[in-house]
């Protein structure tokens, strides 16, 4: 890449966006001329992945600064886009609208939590860690508190949290690749993995940064286009976000009219695993304040502790830019998150409202079973109807759908051309790949930089360090793919666990490292070790039938873990001696933006 690449960014990505839109139009024309849906799906996934691979190749580097922190020259807005892609995983893209569709208010806590966390990132951590000048999050912990044990514990927490998360993402890329390319899931997982590694292997953080920007553009177009299109098509309003109040109210009326009939356990036994019916009100408050708040709080604190997000702010040119960049990140995330409830509303209304041509509730079961899209999605195990009460008509409680189907099937249900479904597949792939890249890189960088270079061999040359980093990248990727291929847990559950693990072990050691000068090494060790262990212990206890306390569930165990972490860190810090003068000076230095970074250029 030439030196003026940074100045040309708006132009480069402008051309890229135009090219992608042209590609969509070509596909649409192809569909009219008789291209099969399978060919369109393959084209979308292959074309976008090829572009990412080219960007990855062009970003190859042999410099540590470029490999670890993209040369610290990523402009605020572009770093915001990259962070948004890094952040919005396959789960956000494919599963979020479905979660809102089925669970309503109780699930919306995730939207509030996954956005509110950025306020904590911007105020408590990002600018200070940027000033610190570290390559990785454990680098900050290790230097601030001193000693190899603190560094090592931070790597452990980071690995536990990120690895839990990454298997879910590789799983998602595998699912999409297997549908789009029509190959078995066990192989598709590795196709997904190779695509992921193509982006990050050669260029490290630099490669990941520029592919993530490209992936954000694909995923946001793929998410917004169907939402606007469907809204216009069913006459709900040309700008859905401001105009769906009537539709939301209408769903409330229909819920009253149909009623939530509880199915018997015997009836439910016939429903395929993973599918759910509409059993919760769409817009009514159906969770207790604590259930809502505890989940939101866990997600917010988890956001501020997840290393793959934090390390994106190490790439900005200045402290000031790091702060602004957090704002841009959240803005780009907001574009998708505020659309998810609208998609859920449109999807639900399309299916429920008997006065719409797409509505199926109240039709005869035989008619519904004859619909093309029903047959397709039923064959894919994502839709199911059954006449429980034997009256021949489909009732609200007799229709079941998979969470993914809300995003994947709604375009087809609403009668949009197949090209949109291909676009959505490419968007889902982009979302899952970008997050997986960020996570694998976070783990590999922490192990190569903090364990190998800082602890094992501090005299290693740059070339050797980067070889180690790349080997680790591949090893961790394959380990993740192998576990993903075993399909142990659902996508969403493991994502939420990752947040809880991260907050249990890292939230307070990170925050107090900046905001409490008295925090010392012993305290940090206690905080990380006891926090992670107690959080993990709580999870295992609840999973094995433990009753839990204070309403803390297996989705919010991080609240318990981080409380233990805070108390033990404060108590241990206070009963041991205060940090030495050099460390205290270092904390003073971190708190002002000007001047040299703490860890000099290596």
């Amino acid at each position: 890449m030439k030196g003026n690449f940074i100045d040309n960014l708006p132009k480069v990505y402008g051309i890229y966006t135009g090219g992608f839109l042209a590609f969509i139009i070509i596909m649409a024309i192809g569909e009219q001329m008789g291209m099969t849906s399978k060919a369109i799906g393959i084209c979308f996934v292959a074309f976008t992945v090829a572009i990412y691979a080219i960007i990855g190749w062009l970003s190859r580097t042999a410099q540590a600064d470029a490999y670890y922190v993209a040369g610290r020259q990523v402009p605020t807005v572009f770093n915001g886009m990259a962070t948004a892609a890094d952040w919005m995983s396959g789960a956000s893209f494919v599963a979020m609208a479905g979660g809102i569709y089925f669970k309503g208010y109780g699930y919306m806590a995730l939207l509030v939590g996954w956005t509110g966390g950025y306020v904590l990132v911007a105020t408590l951590l990002a600018p200070y860690l940027r000033k610190f000048g570290c390559y990785t999050v454990p680098d900050f912990i290790g230097t601030r508190y001193g000693g190899n044990l603190t560094r090592f514990l931070a790597v452990v927490v980071l690995t536990v949290a990120s690895f839990t998360y990454v298997t879910a993402q590789i799983n998602a890329t595998g699912t999409i690749a297997s549908v789009a390319l029509d190959i078995p899931f066990q192989y598709a997982v590795y196709v997904g993995l190779v695509s992921i590694l193509l982006c990050s292997m050669l260029g490290g953080m630099r490669g990941v940064t520029w592919t993530q920007v490209a992936q954000y553009i694909v995923l946001i177009i793929a998410y917004l286009l169907p939402v606007f299109w469907i809204s216009n098509k069913i006459g709900a309003g040309f700008f859905p976000h401001f105009m769906l109040a009537d539709e939301v109210a209408r769903i409330g009326e229909l819920e009253q009219q149909f009623g939530f009939v509880k199915n018997s356990a015997a009836d439910l036994a016939n429903v395929p695993k993973g599918l759910a019916g509409i059993t919760k009100a769409h817009s009514a408050v159906n969770a207790t304040p604590w259930a809502f708040i505890s989940l939101a709080l866990a997600m917010m604190m988890g956001t501020a502790s997840l290393p793959h997000v934090m390390m994106r702010y190490f790439t900005t040119p200045s402290v000031k830019a790091a702060r602004k960049s957090v704002g841009w990140s959240l803005f780009f995330i907001f574009l998708l998150y505020s659309s998810a409830p609208m998609l859920a509303t449109l999807s639900k209304l399309s299916l429920m409202d008997p006065s719409l041509p797409t509505g199926i509730i109240g039709k005869s079961i035989a008619d519904v079973q004859a619909i093309d899209w029903y047959q397709n999605w039923n064959a894919a195990n994502l839709m199911f109807v059954s006449d429980f009460n034997g009256n021949g008509t489909l009732e609200l409680n007799e229709f079941f759908m998979g969470g993914k189907a809300v995003v994947l099937a709604t375009p087809e249900i609403a009668g949009l051309p197949y090209v949109i479904s291909g676009l959505v597949a490419a968007g889902g792939m982009a979302a899952a790949m970008s997050t997986a890249d960020g996570l694998i890189l976070a783990i590999a960088n922490a192990i190569s930089h903090d364990v190998y270079y800082k602890i094992i061999d501090s005299k290693a040359e740059t070339a050797k360090r980067l070889v180690v980093a790349r080997v680790l990248l591949v090893v961790i990727g394959f380990a993740g793919a192998t576990i993903a291929a075993m399909e142990i847990q659902g996508i969403l559950g493991s994502v939420i666990w990752a947040f809880d693990f991260a907050m249990s072990g890292l939230f307070f050691p990170l925050v107090l490292g900046v905001w409490w000068k008295r925090a010392n090494r012993e305290g940090a060790i206690a905080g990380m070790a006891l926090g992670l262990l107690s959080g993990m212990g709580y999870l295992i206890w609840v999973r094995n039938g433990g009753s839990g306390f204070l309403g803390i569930t297996q989705l919010t165990f991080g609240i318990f873990g981080s409380a233990v972490s805070l108390v033990s860190m404060v108590v241990v810090s206070l009963i041991t001696s205060e940090p030495n003068a050099a460390t205290q000076r270092m904390v003073d230095e971190v708190r002002i933006p000007s001047g040299r970074s703490i860890i000099g250029k290596q």
């Binding site: 939590g113 306020v119 830019a321 704002g327 907001f334």
Partner: protein, 86 residues
């Protein structure tokens, strides 16, 4: 008090204000979720529903930009801002 201590005191003050606003819209209002939802909010959505879909999320975006600007002013006031622009 040294220049650095004053700078930190102002920074901490800004943090407290920012976190207070954050607390209200991420936690505070949801203590009254059920009560608030019977009111009609912006664009005609039920109020609590609107906050979870758009309101709180949008307020967080604005809050971060506001915070970043205020913090820059504080840094400039004490001569701690970085040279050159981004």
């Amino acid at each position: 008090m040294s220049k650095q201590a004053q700078h930190w005191e102002k920074t901490r003050g800004l943090l407290m204000v920012t976190l207070a606003i954050w607390f209200v819209f991420s936690i505070g209002i949801f203590l009254f979720g059920a009560e608030m939802n019977s009111t009609t909010g912006p664009f005609g959505y039920p109020l609590t529903y609107w906050f979870t879909c758009q309101g709180s999320l949008g307020i967080f975006v604005i809050l971060i930009f506001w915070f970043a600007n205020r913090q820059e002013k504080i840094d400039e006031e004490f001569g701690f801002s970085e040279r050159g622009d981004d």
